[in-house]
Symmetry: C2
Subunit: 185 residues, 2 copies
């Protein structure tokens, strides 16, 4: 992994651990045993790093979508849900939630990339549910888009709320989502 990629990975983790406004270039420099100024060589501004992190997330999502394109709707949905399970294991939160709460304090360019990411997530989950409904493996009353929103908001906030209530609450929420989709009307 190049230094640039390592910086992006560390920035990503820091945003999801402490929030965009709470981390500094020094946090990254210390981890990498380099100096503050060296980070600026790779990313002139903190906003530039934020954008790179979001573009990395977009690329990762597209790879996952591509890798699961021939799989069943159940497999796709489980792959989607396991994104959050991995984040939970790290004790962190989703980047969409983290940056959404700070939205009015970050550069507009970050907001633009964040919205793109959110749209792509919503679009994918909507398609998964749509396919599952057609193939009669998922059952739900709402539109696919609304149901996708319900599932995404459940998982996104499960990471946040389970930091405060009980760590097991994350699994309870995840399991309930899966079960509910399988209940025939």
């Amino acid at each position: 992994m190049t230094t640039r990629e390592t910086i992006i990975a560390l920035g990503d983790q820091l945003i999801r651990d402490k929030g965009f406004n709470a981390f500094s270039f020094y946090d990254i420099a210390r981890s990498l045993n380099i100096k503050n100024a060296s980070i600026h060589y790779h990313f002139p501004s903190k906003t530039d790093l934020g954008i790179a992190v979001l573009k990395g997330q977009q690329d990762g999502l597209r790879s996952l979508i591509e890798a699961y394109s021939k799989k069943t709707p159940e497999e796709k949905l489980l792959a989607f849900l396991s994104i959050y399970t991995r984040i939970k294991a790290e004790g962190k939160v989703c980047i969409v939630g983290s940056l959404a709460t700070d939205l009015n304090s970050v550069d507009e360019k970050i907001a633009v990339e964040l919205k793109k990411l959110a749209q792509e997530i919503l679009s994918w989950v909507t398609q998964i549910l749509d396919e599952g409904k057609r193939k009669k493996v998922f059952y739900f009353r709402e539109s696919s888009r609304t149901r996708a929103l319900l599932i995404i908001t459940n998982m996104l906030a499960a990471l946040q709320v389970s930091r405060l209530t009980d760590e097991n609450d994350f699994s309870s929420i995840k399991n309930a989502i899966i079960k509910d989709l399988r209940v025939k009307p």
Copy 2:
């Protein structure tokens, strides 16, 4: 409203608008036409203000619970959901979500009060659902606690995600929650 109360109200709004780490005492001082140092007279540290904001939220919640204690489960649930509708109208997010994403960058004392607030919200919604199930006005398969978590996470993240996707998504989510509870098995 006393100056102290006004500062708390402004701090609350700023946390839910920009995040805890993005607002400064100067934001509040400017709004009140007083100086930075005057804020410190009322709240020695930013952490003190954060705690006061959270205690204010706890008090507000307890008042709401008390005011609705004799009402029906449906009325209680609608009262709970309308908390978020009001926040959405302001374009802000829920304080629980905002501070949960910044949890590892704030003072431990803030984390303690935030957890108390989250527990009280979860406890209330769980009781509302429990009562609704007993009285056969709400229908759901999960435990009351899990269903409460599902509903709370939906609303909390609906505020965050609808900043990014479509403002109308908030209403779609809210309406789906209400409808789903009324569906008989």
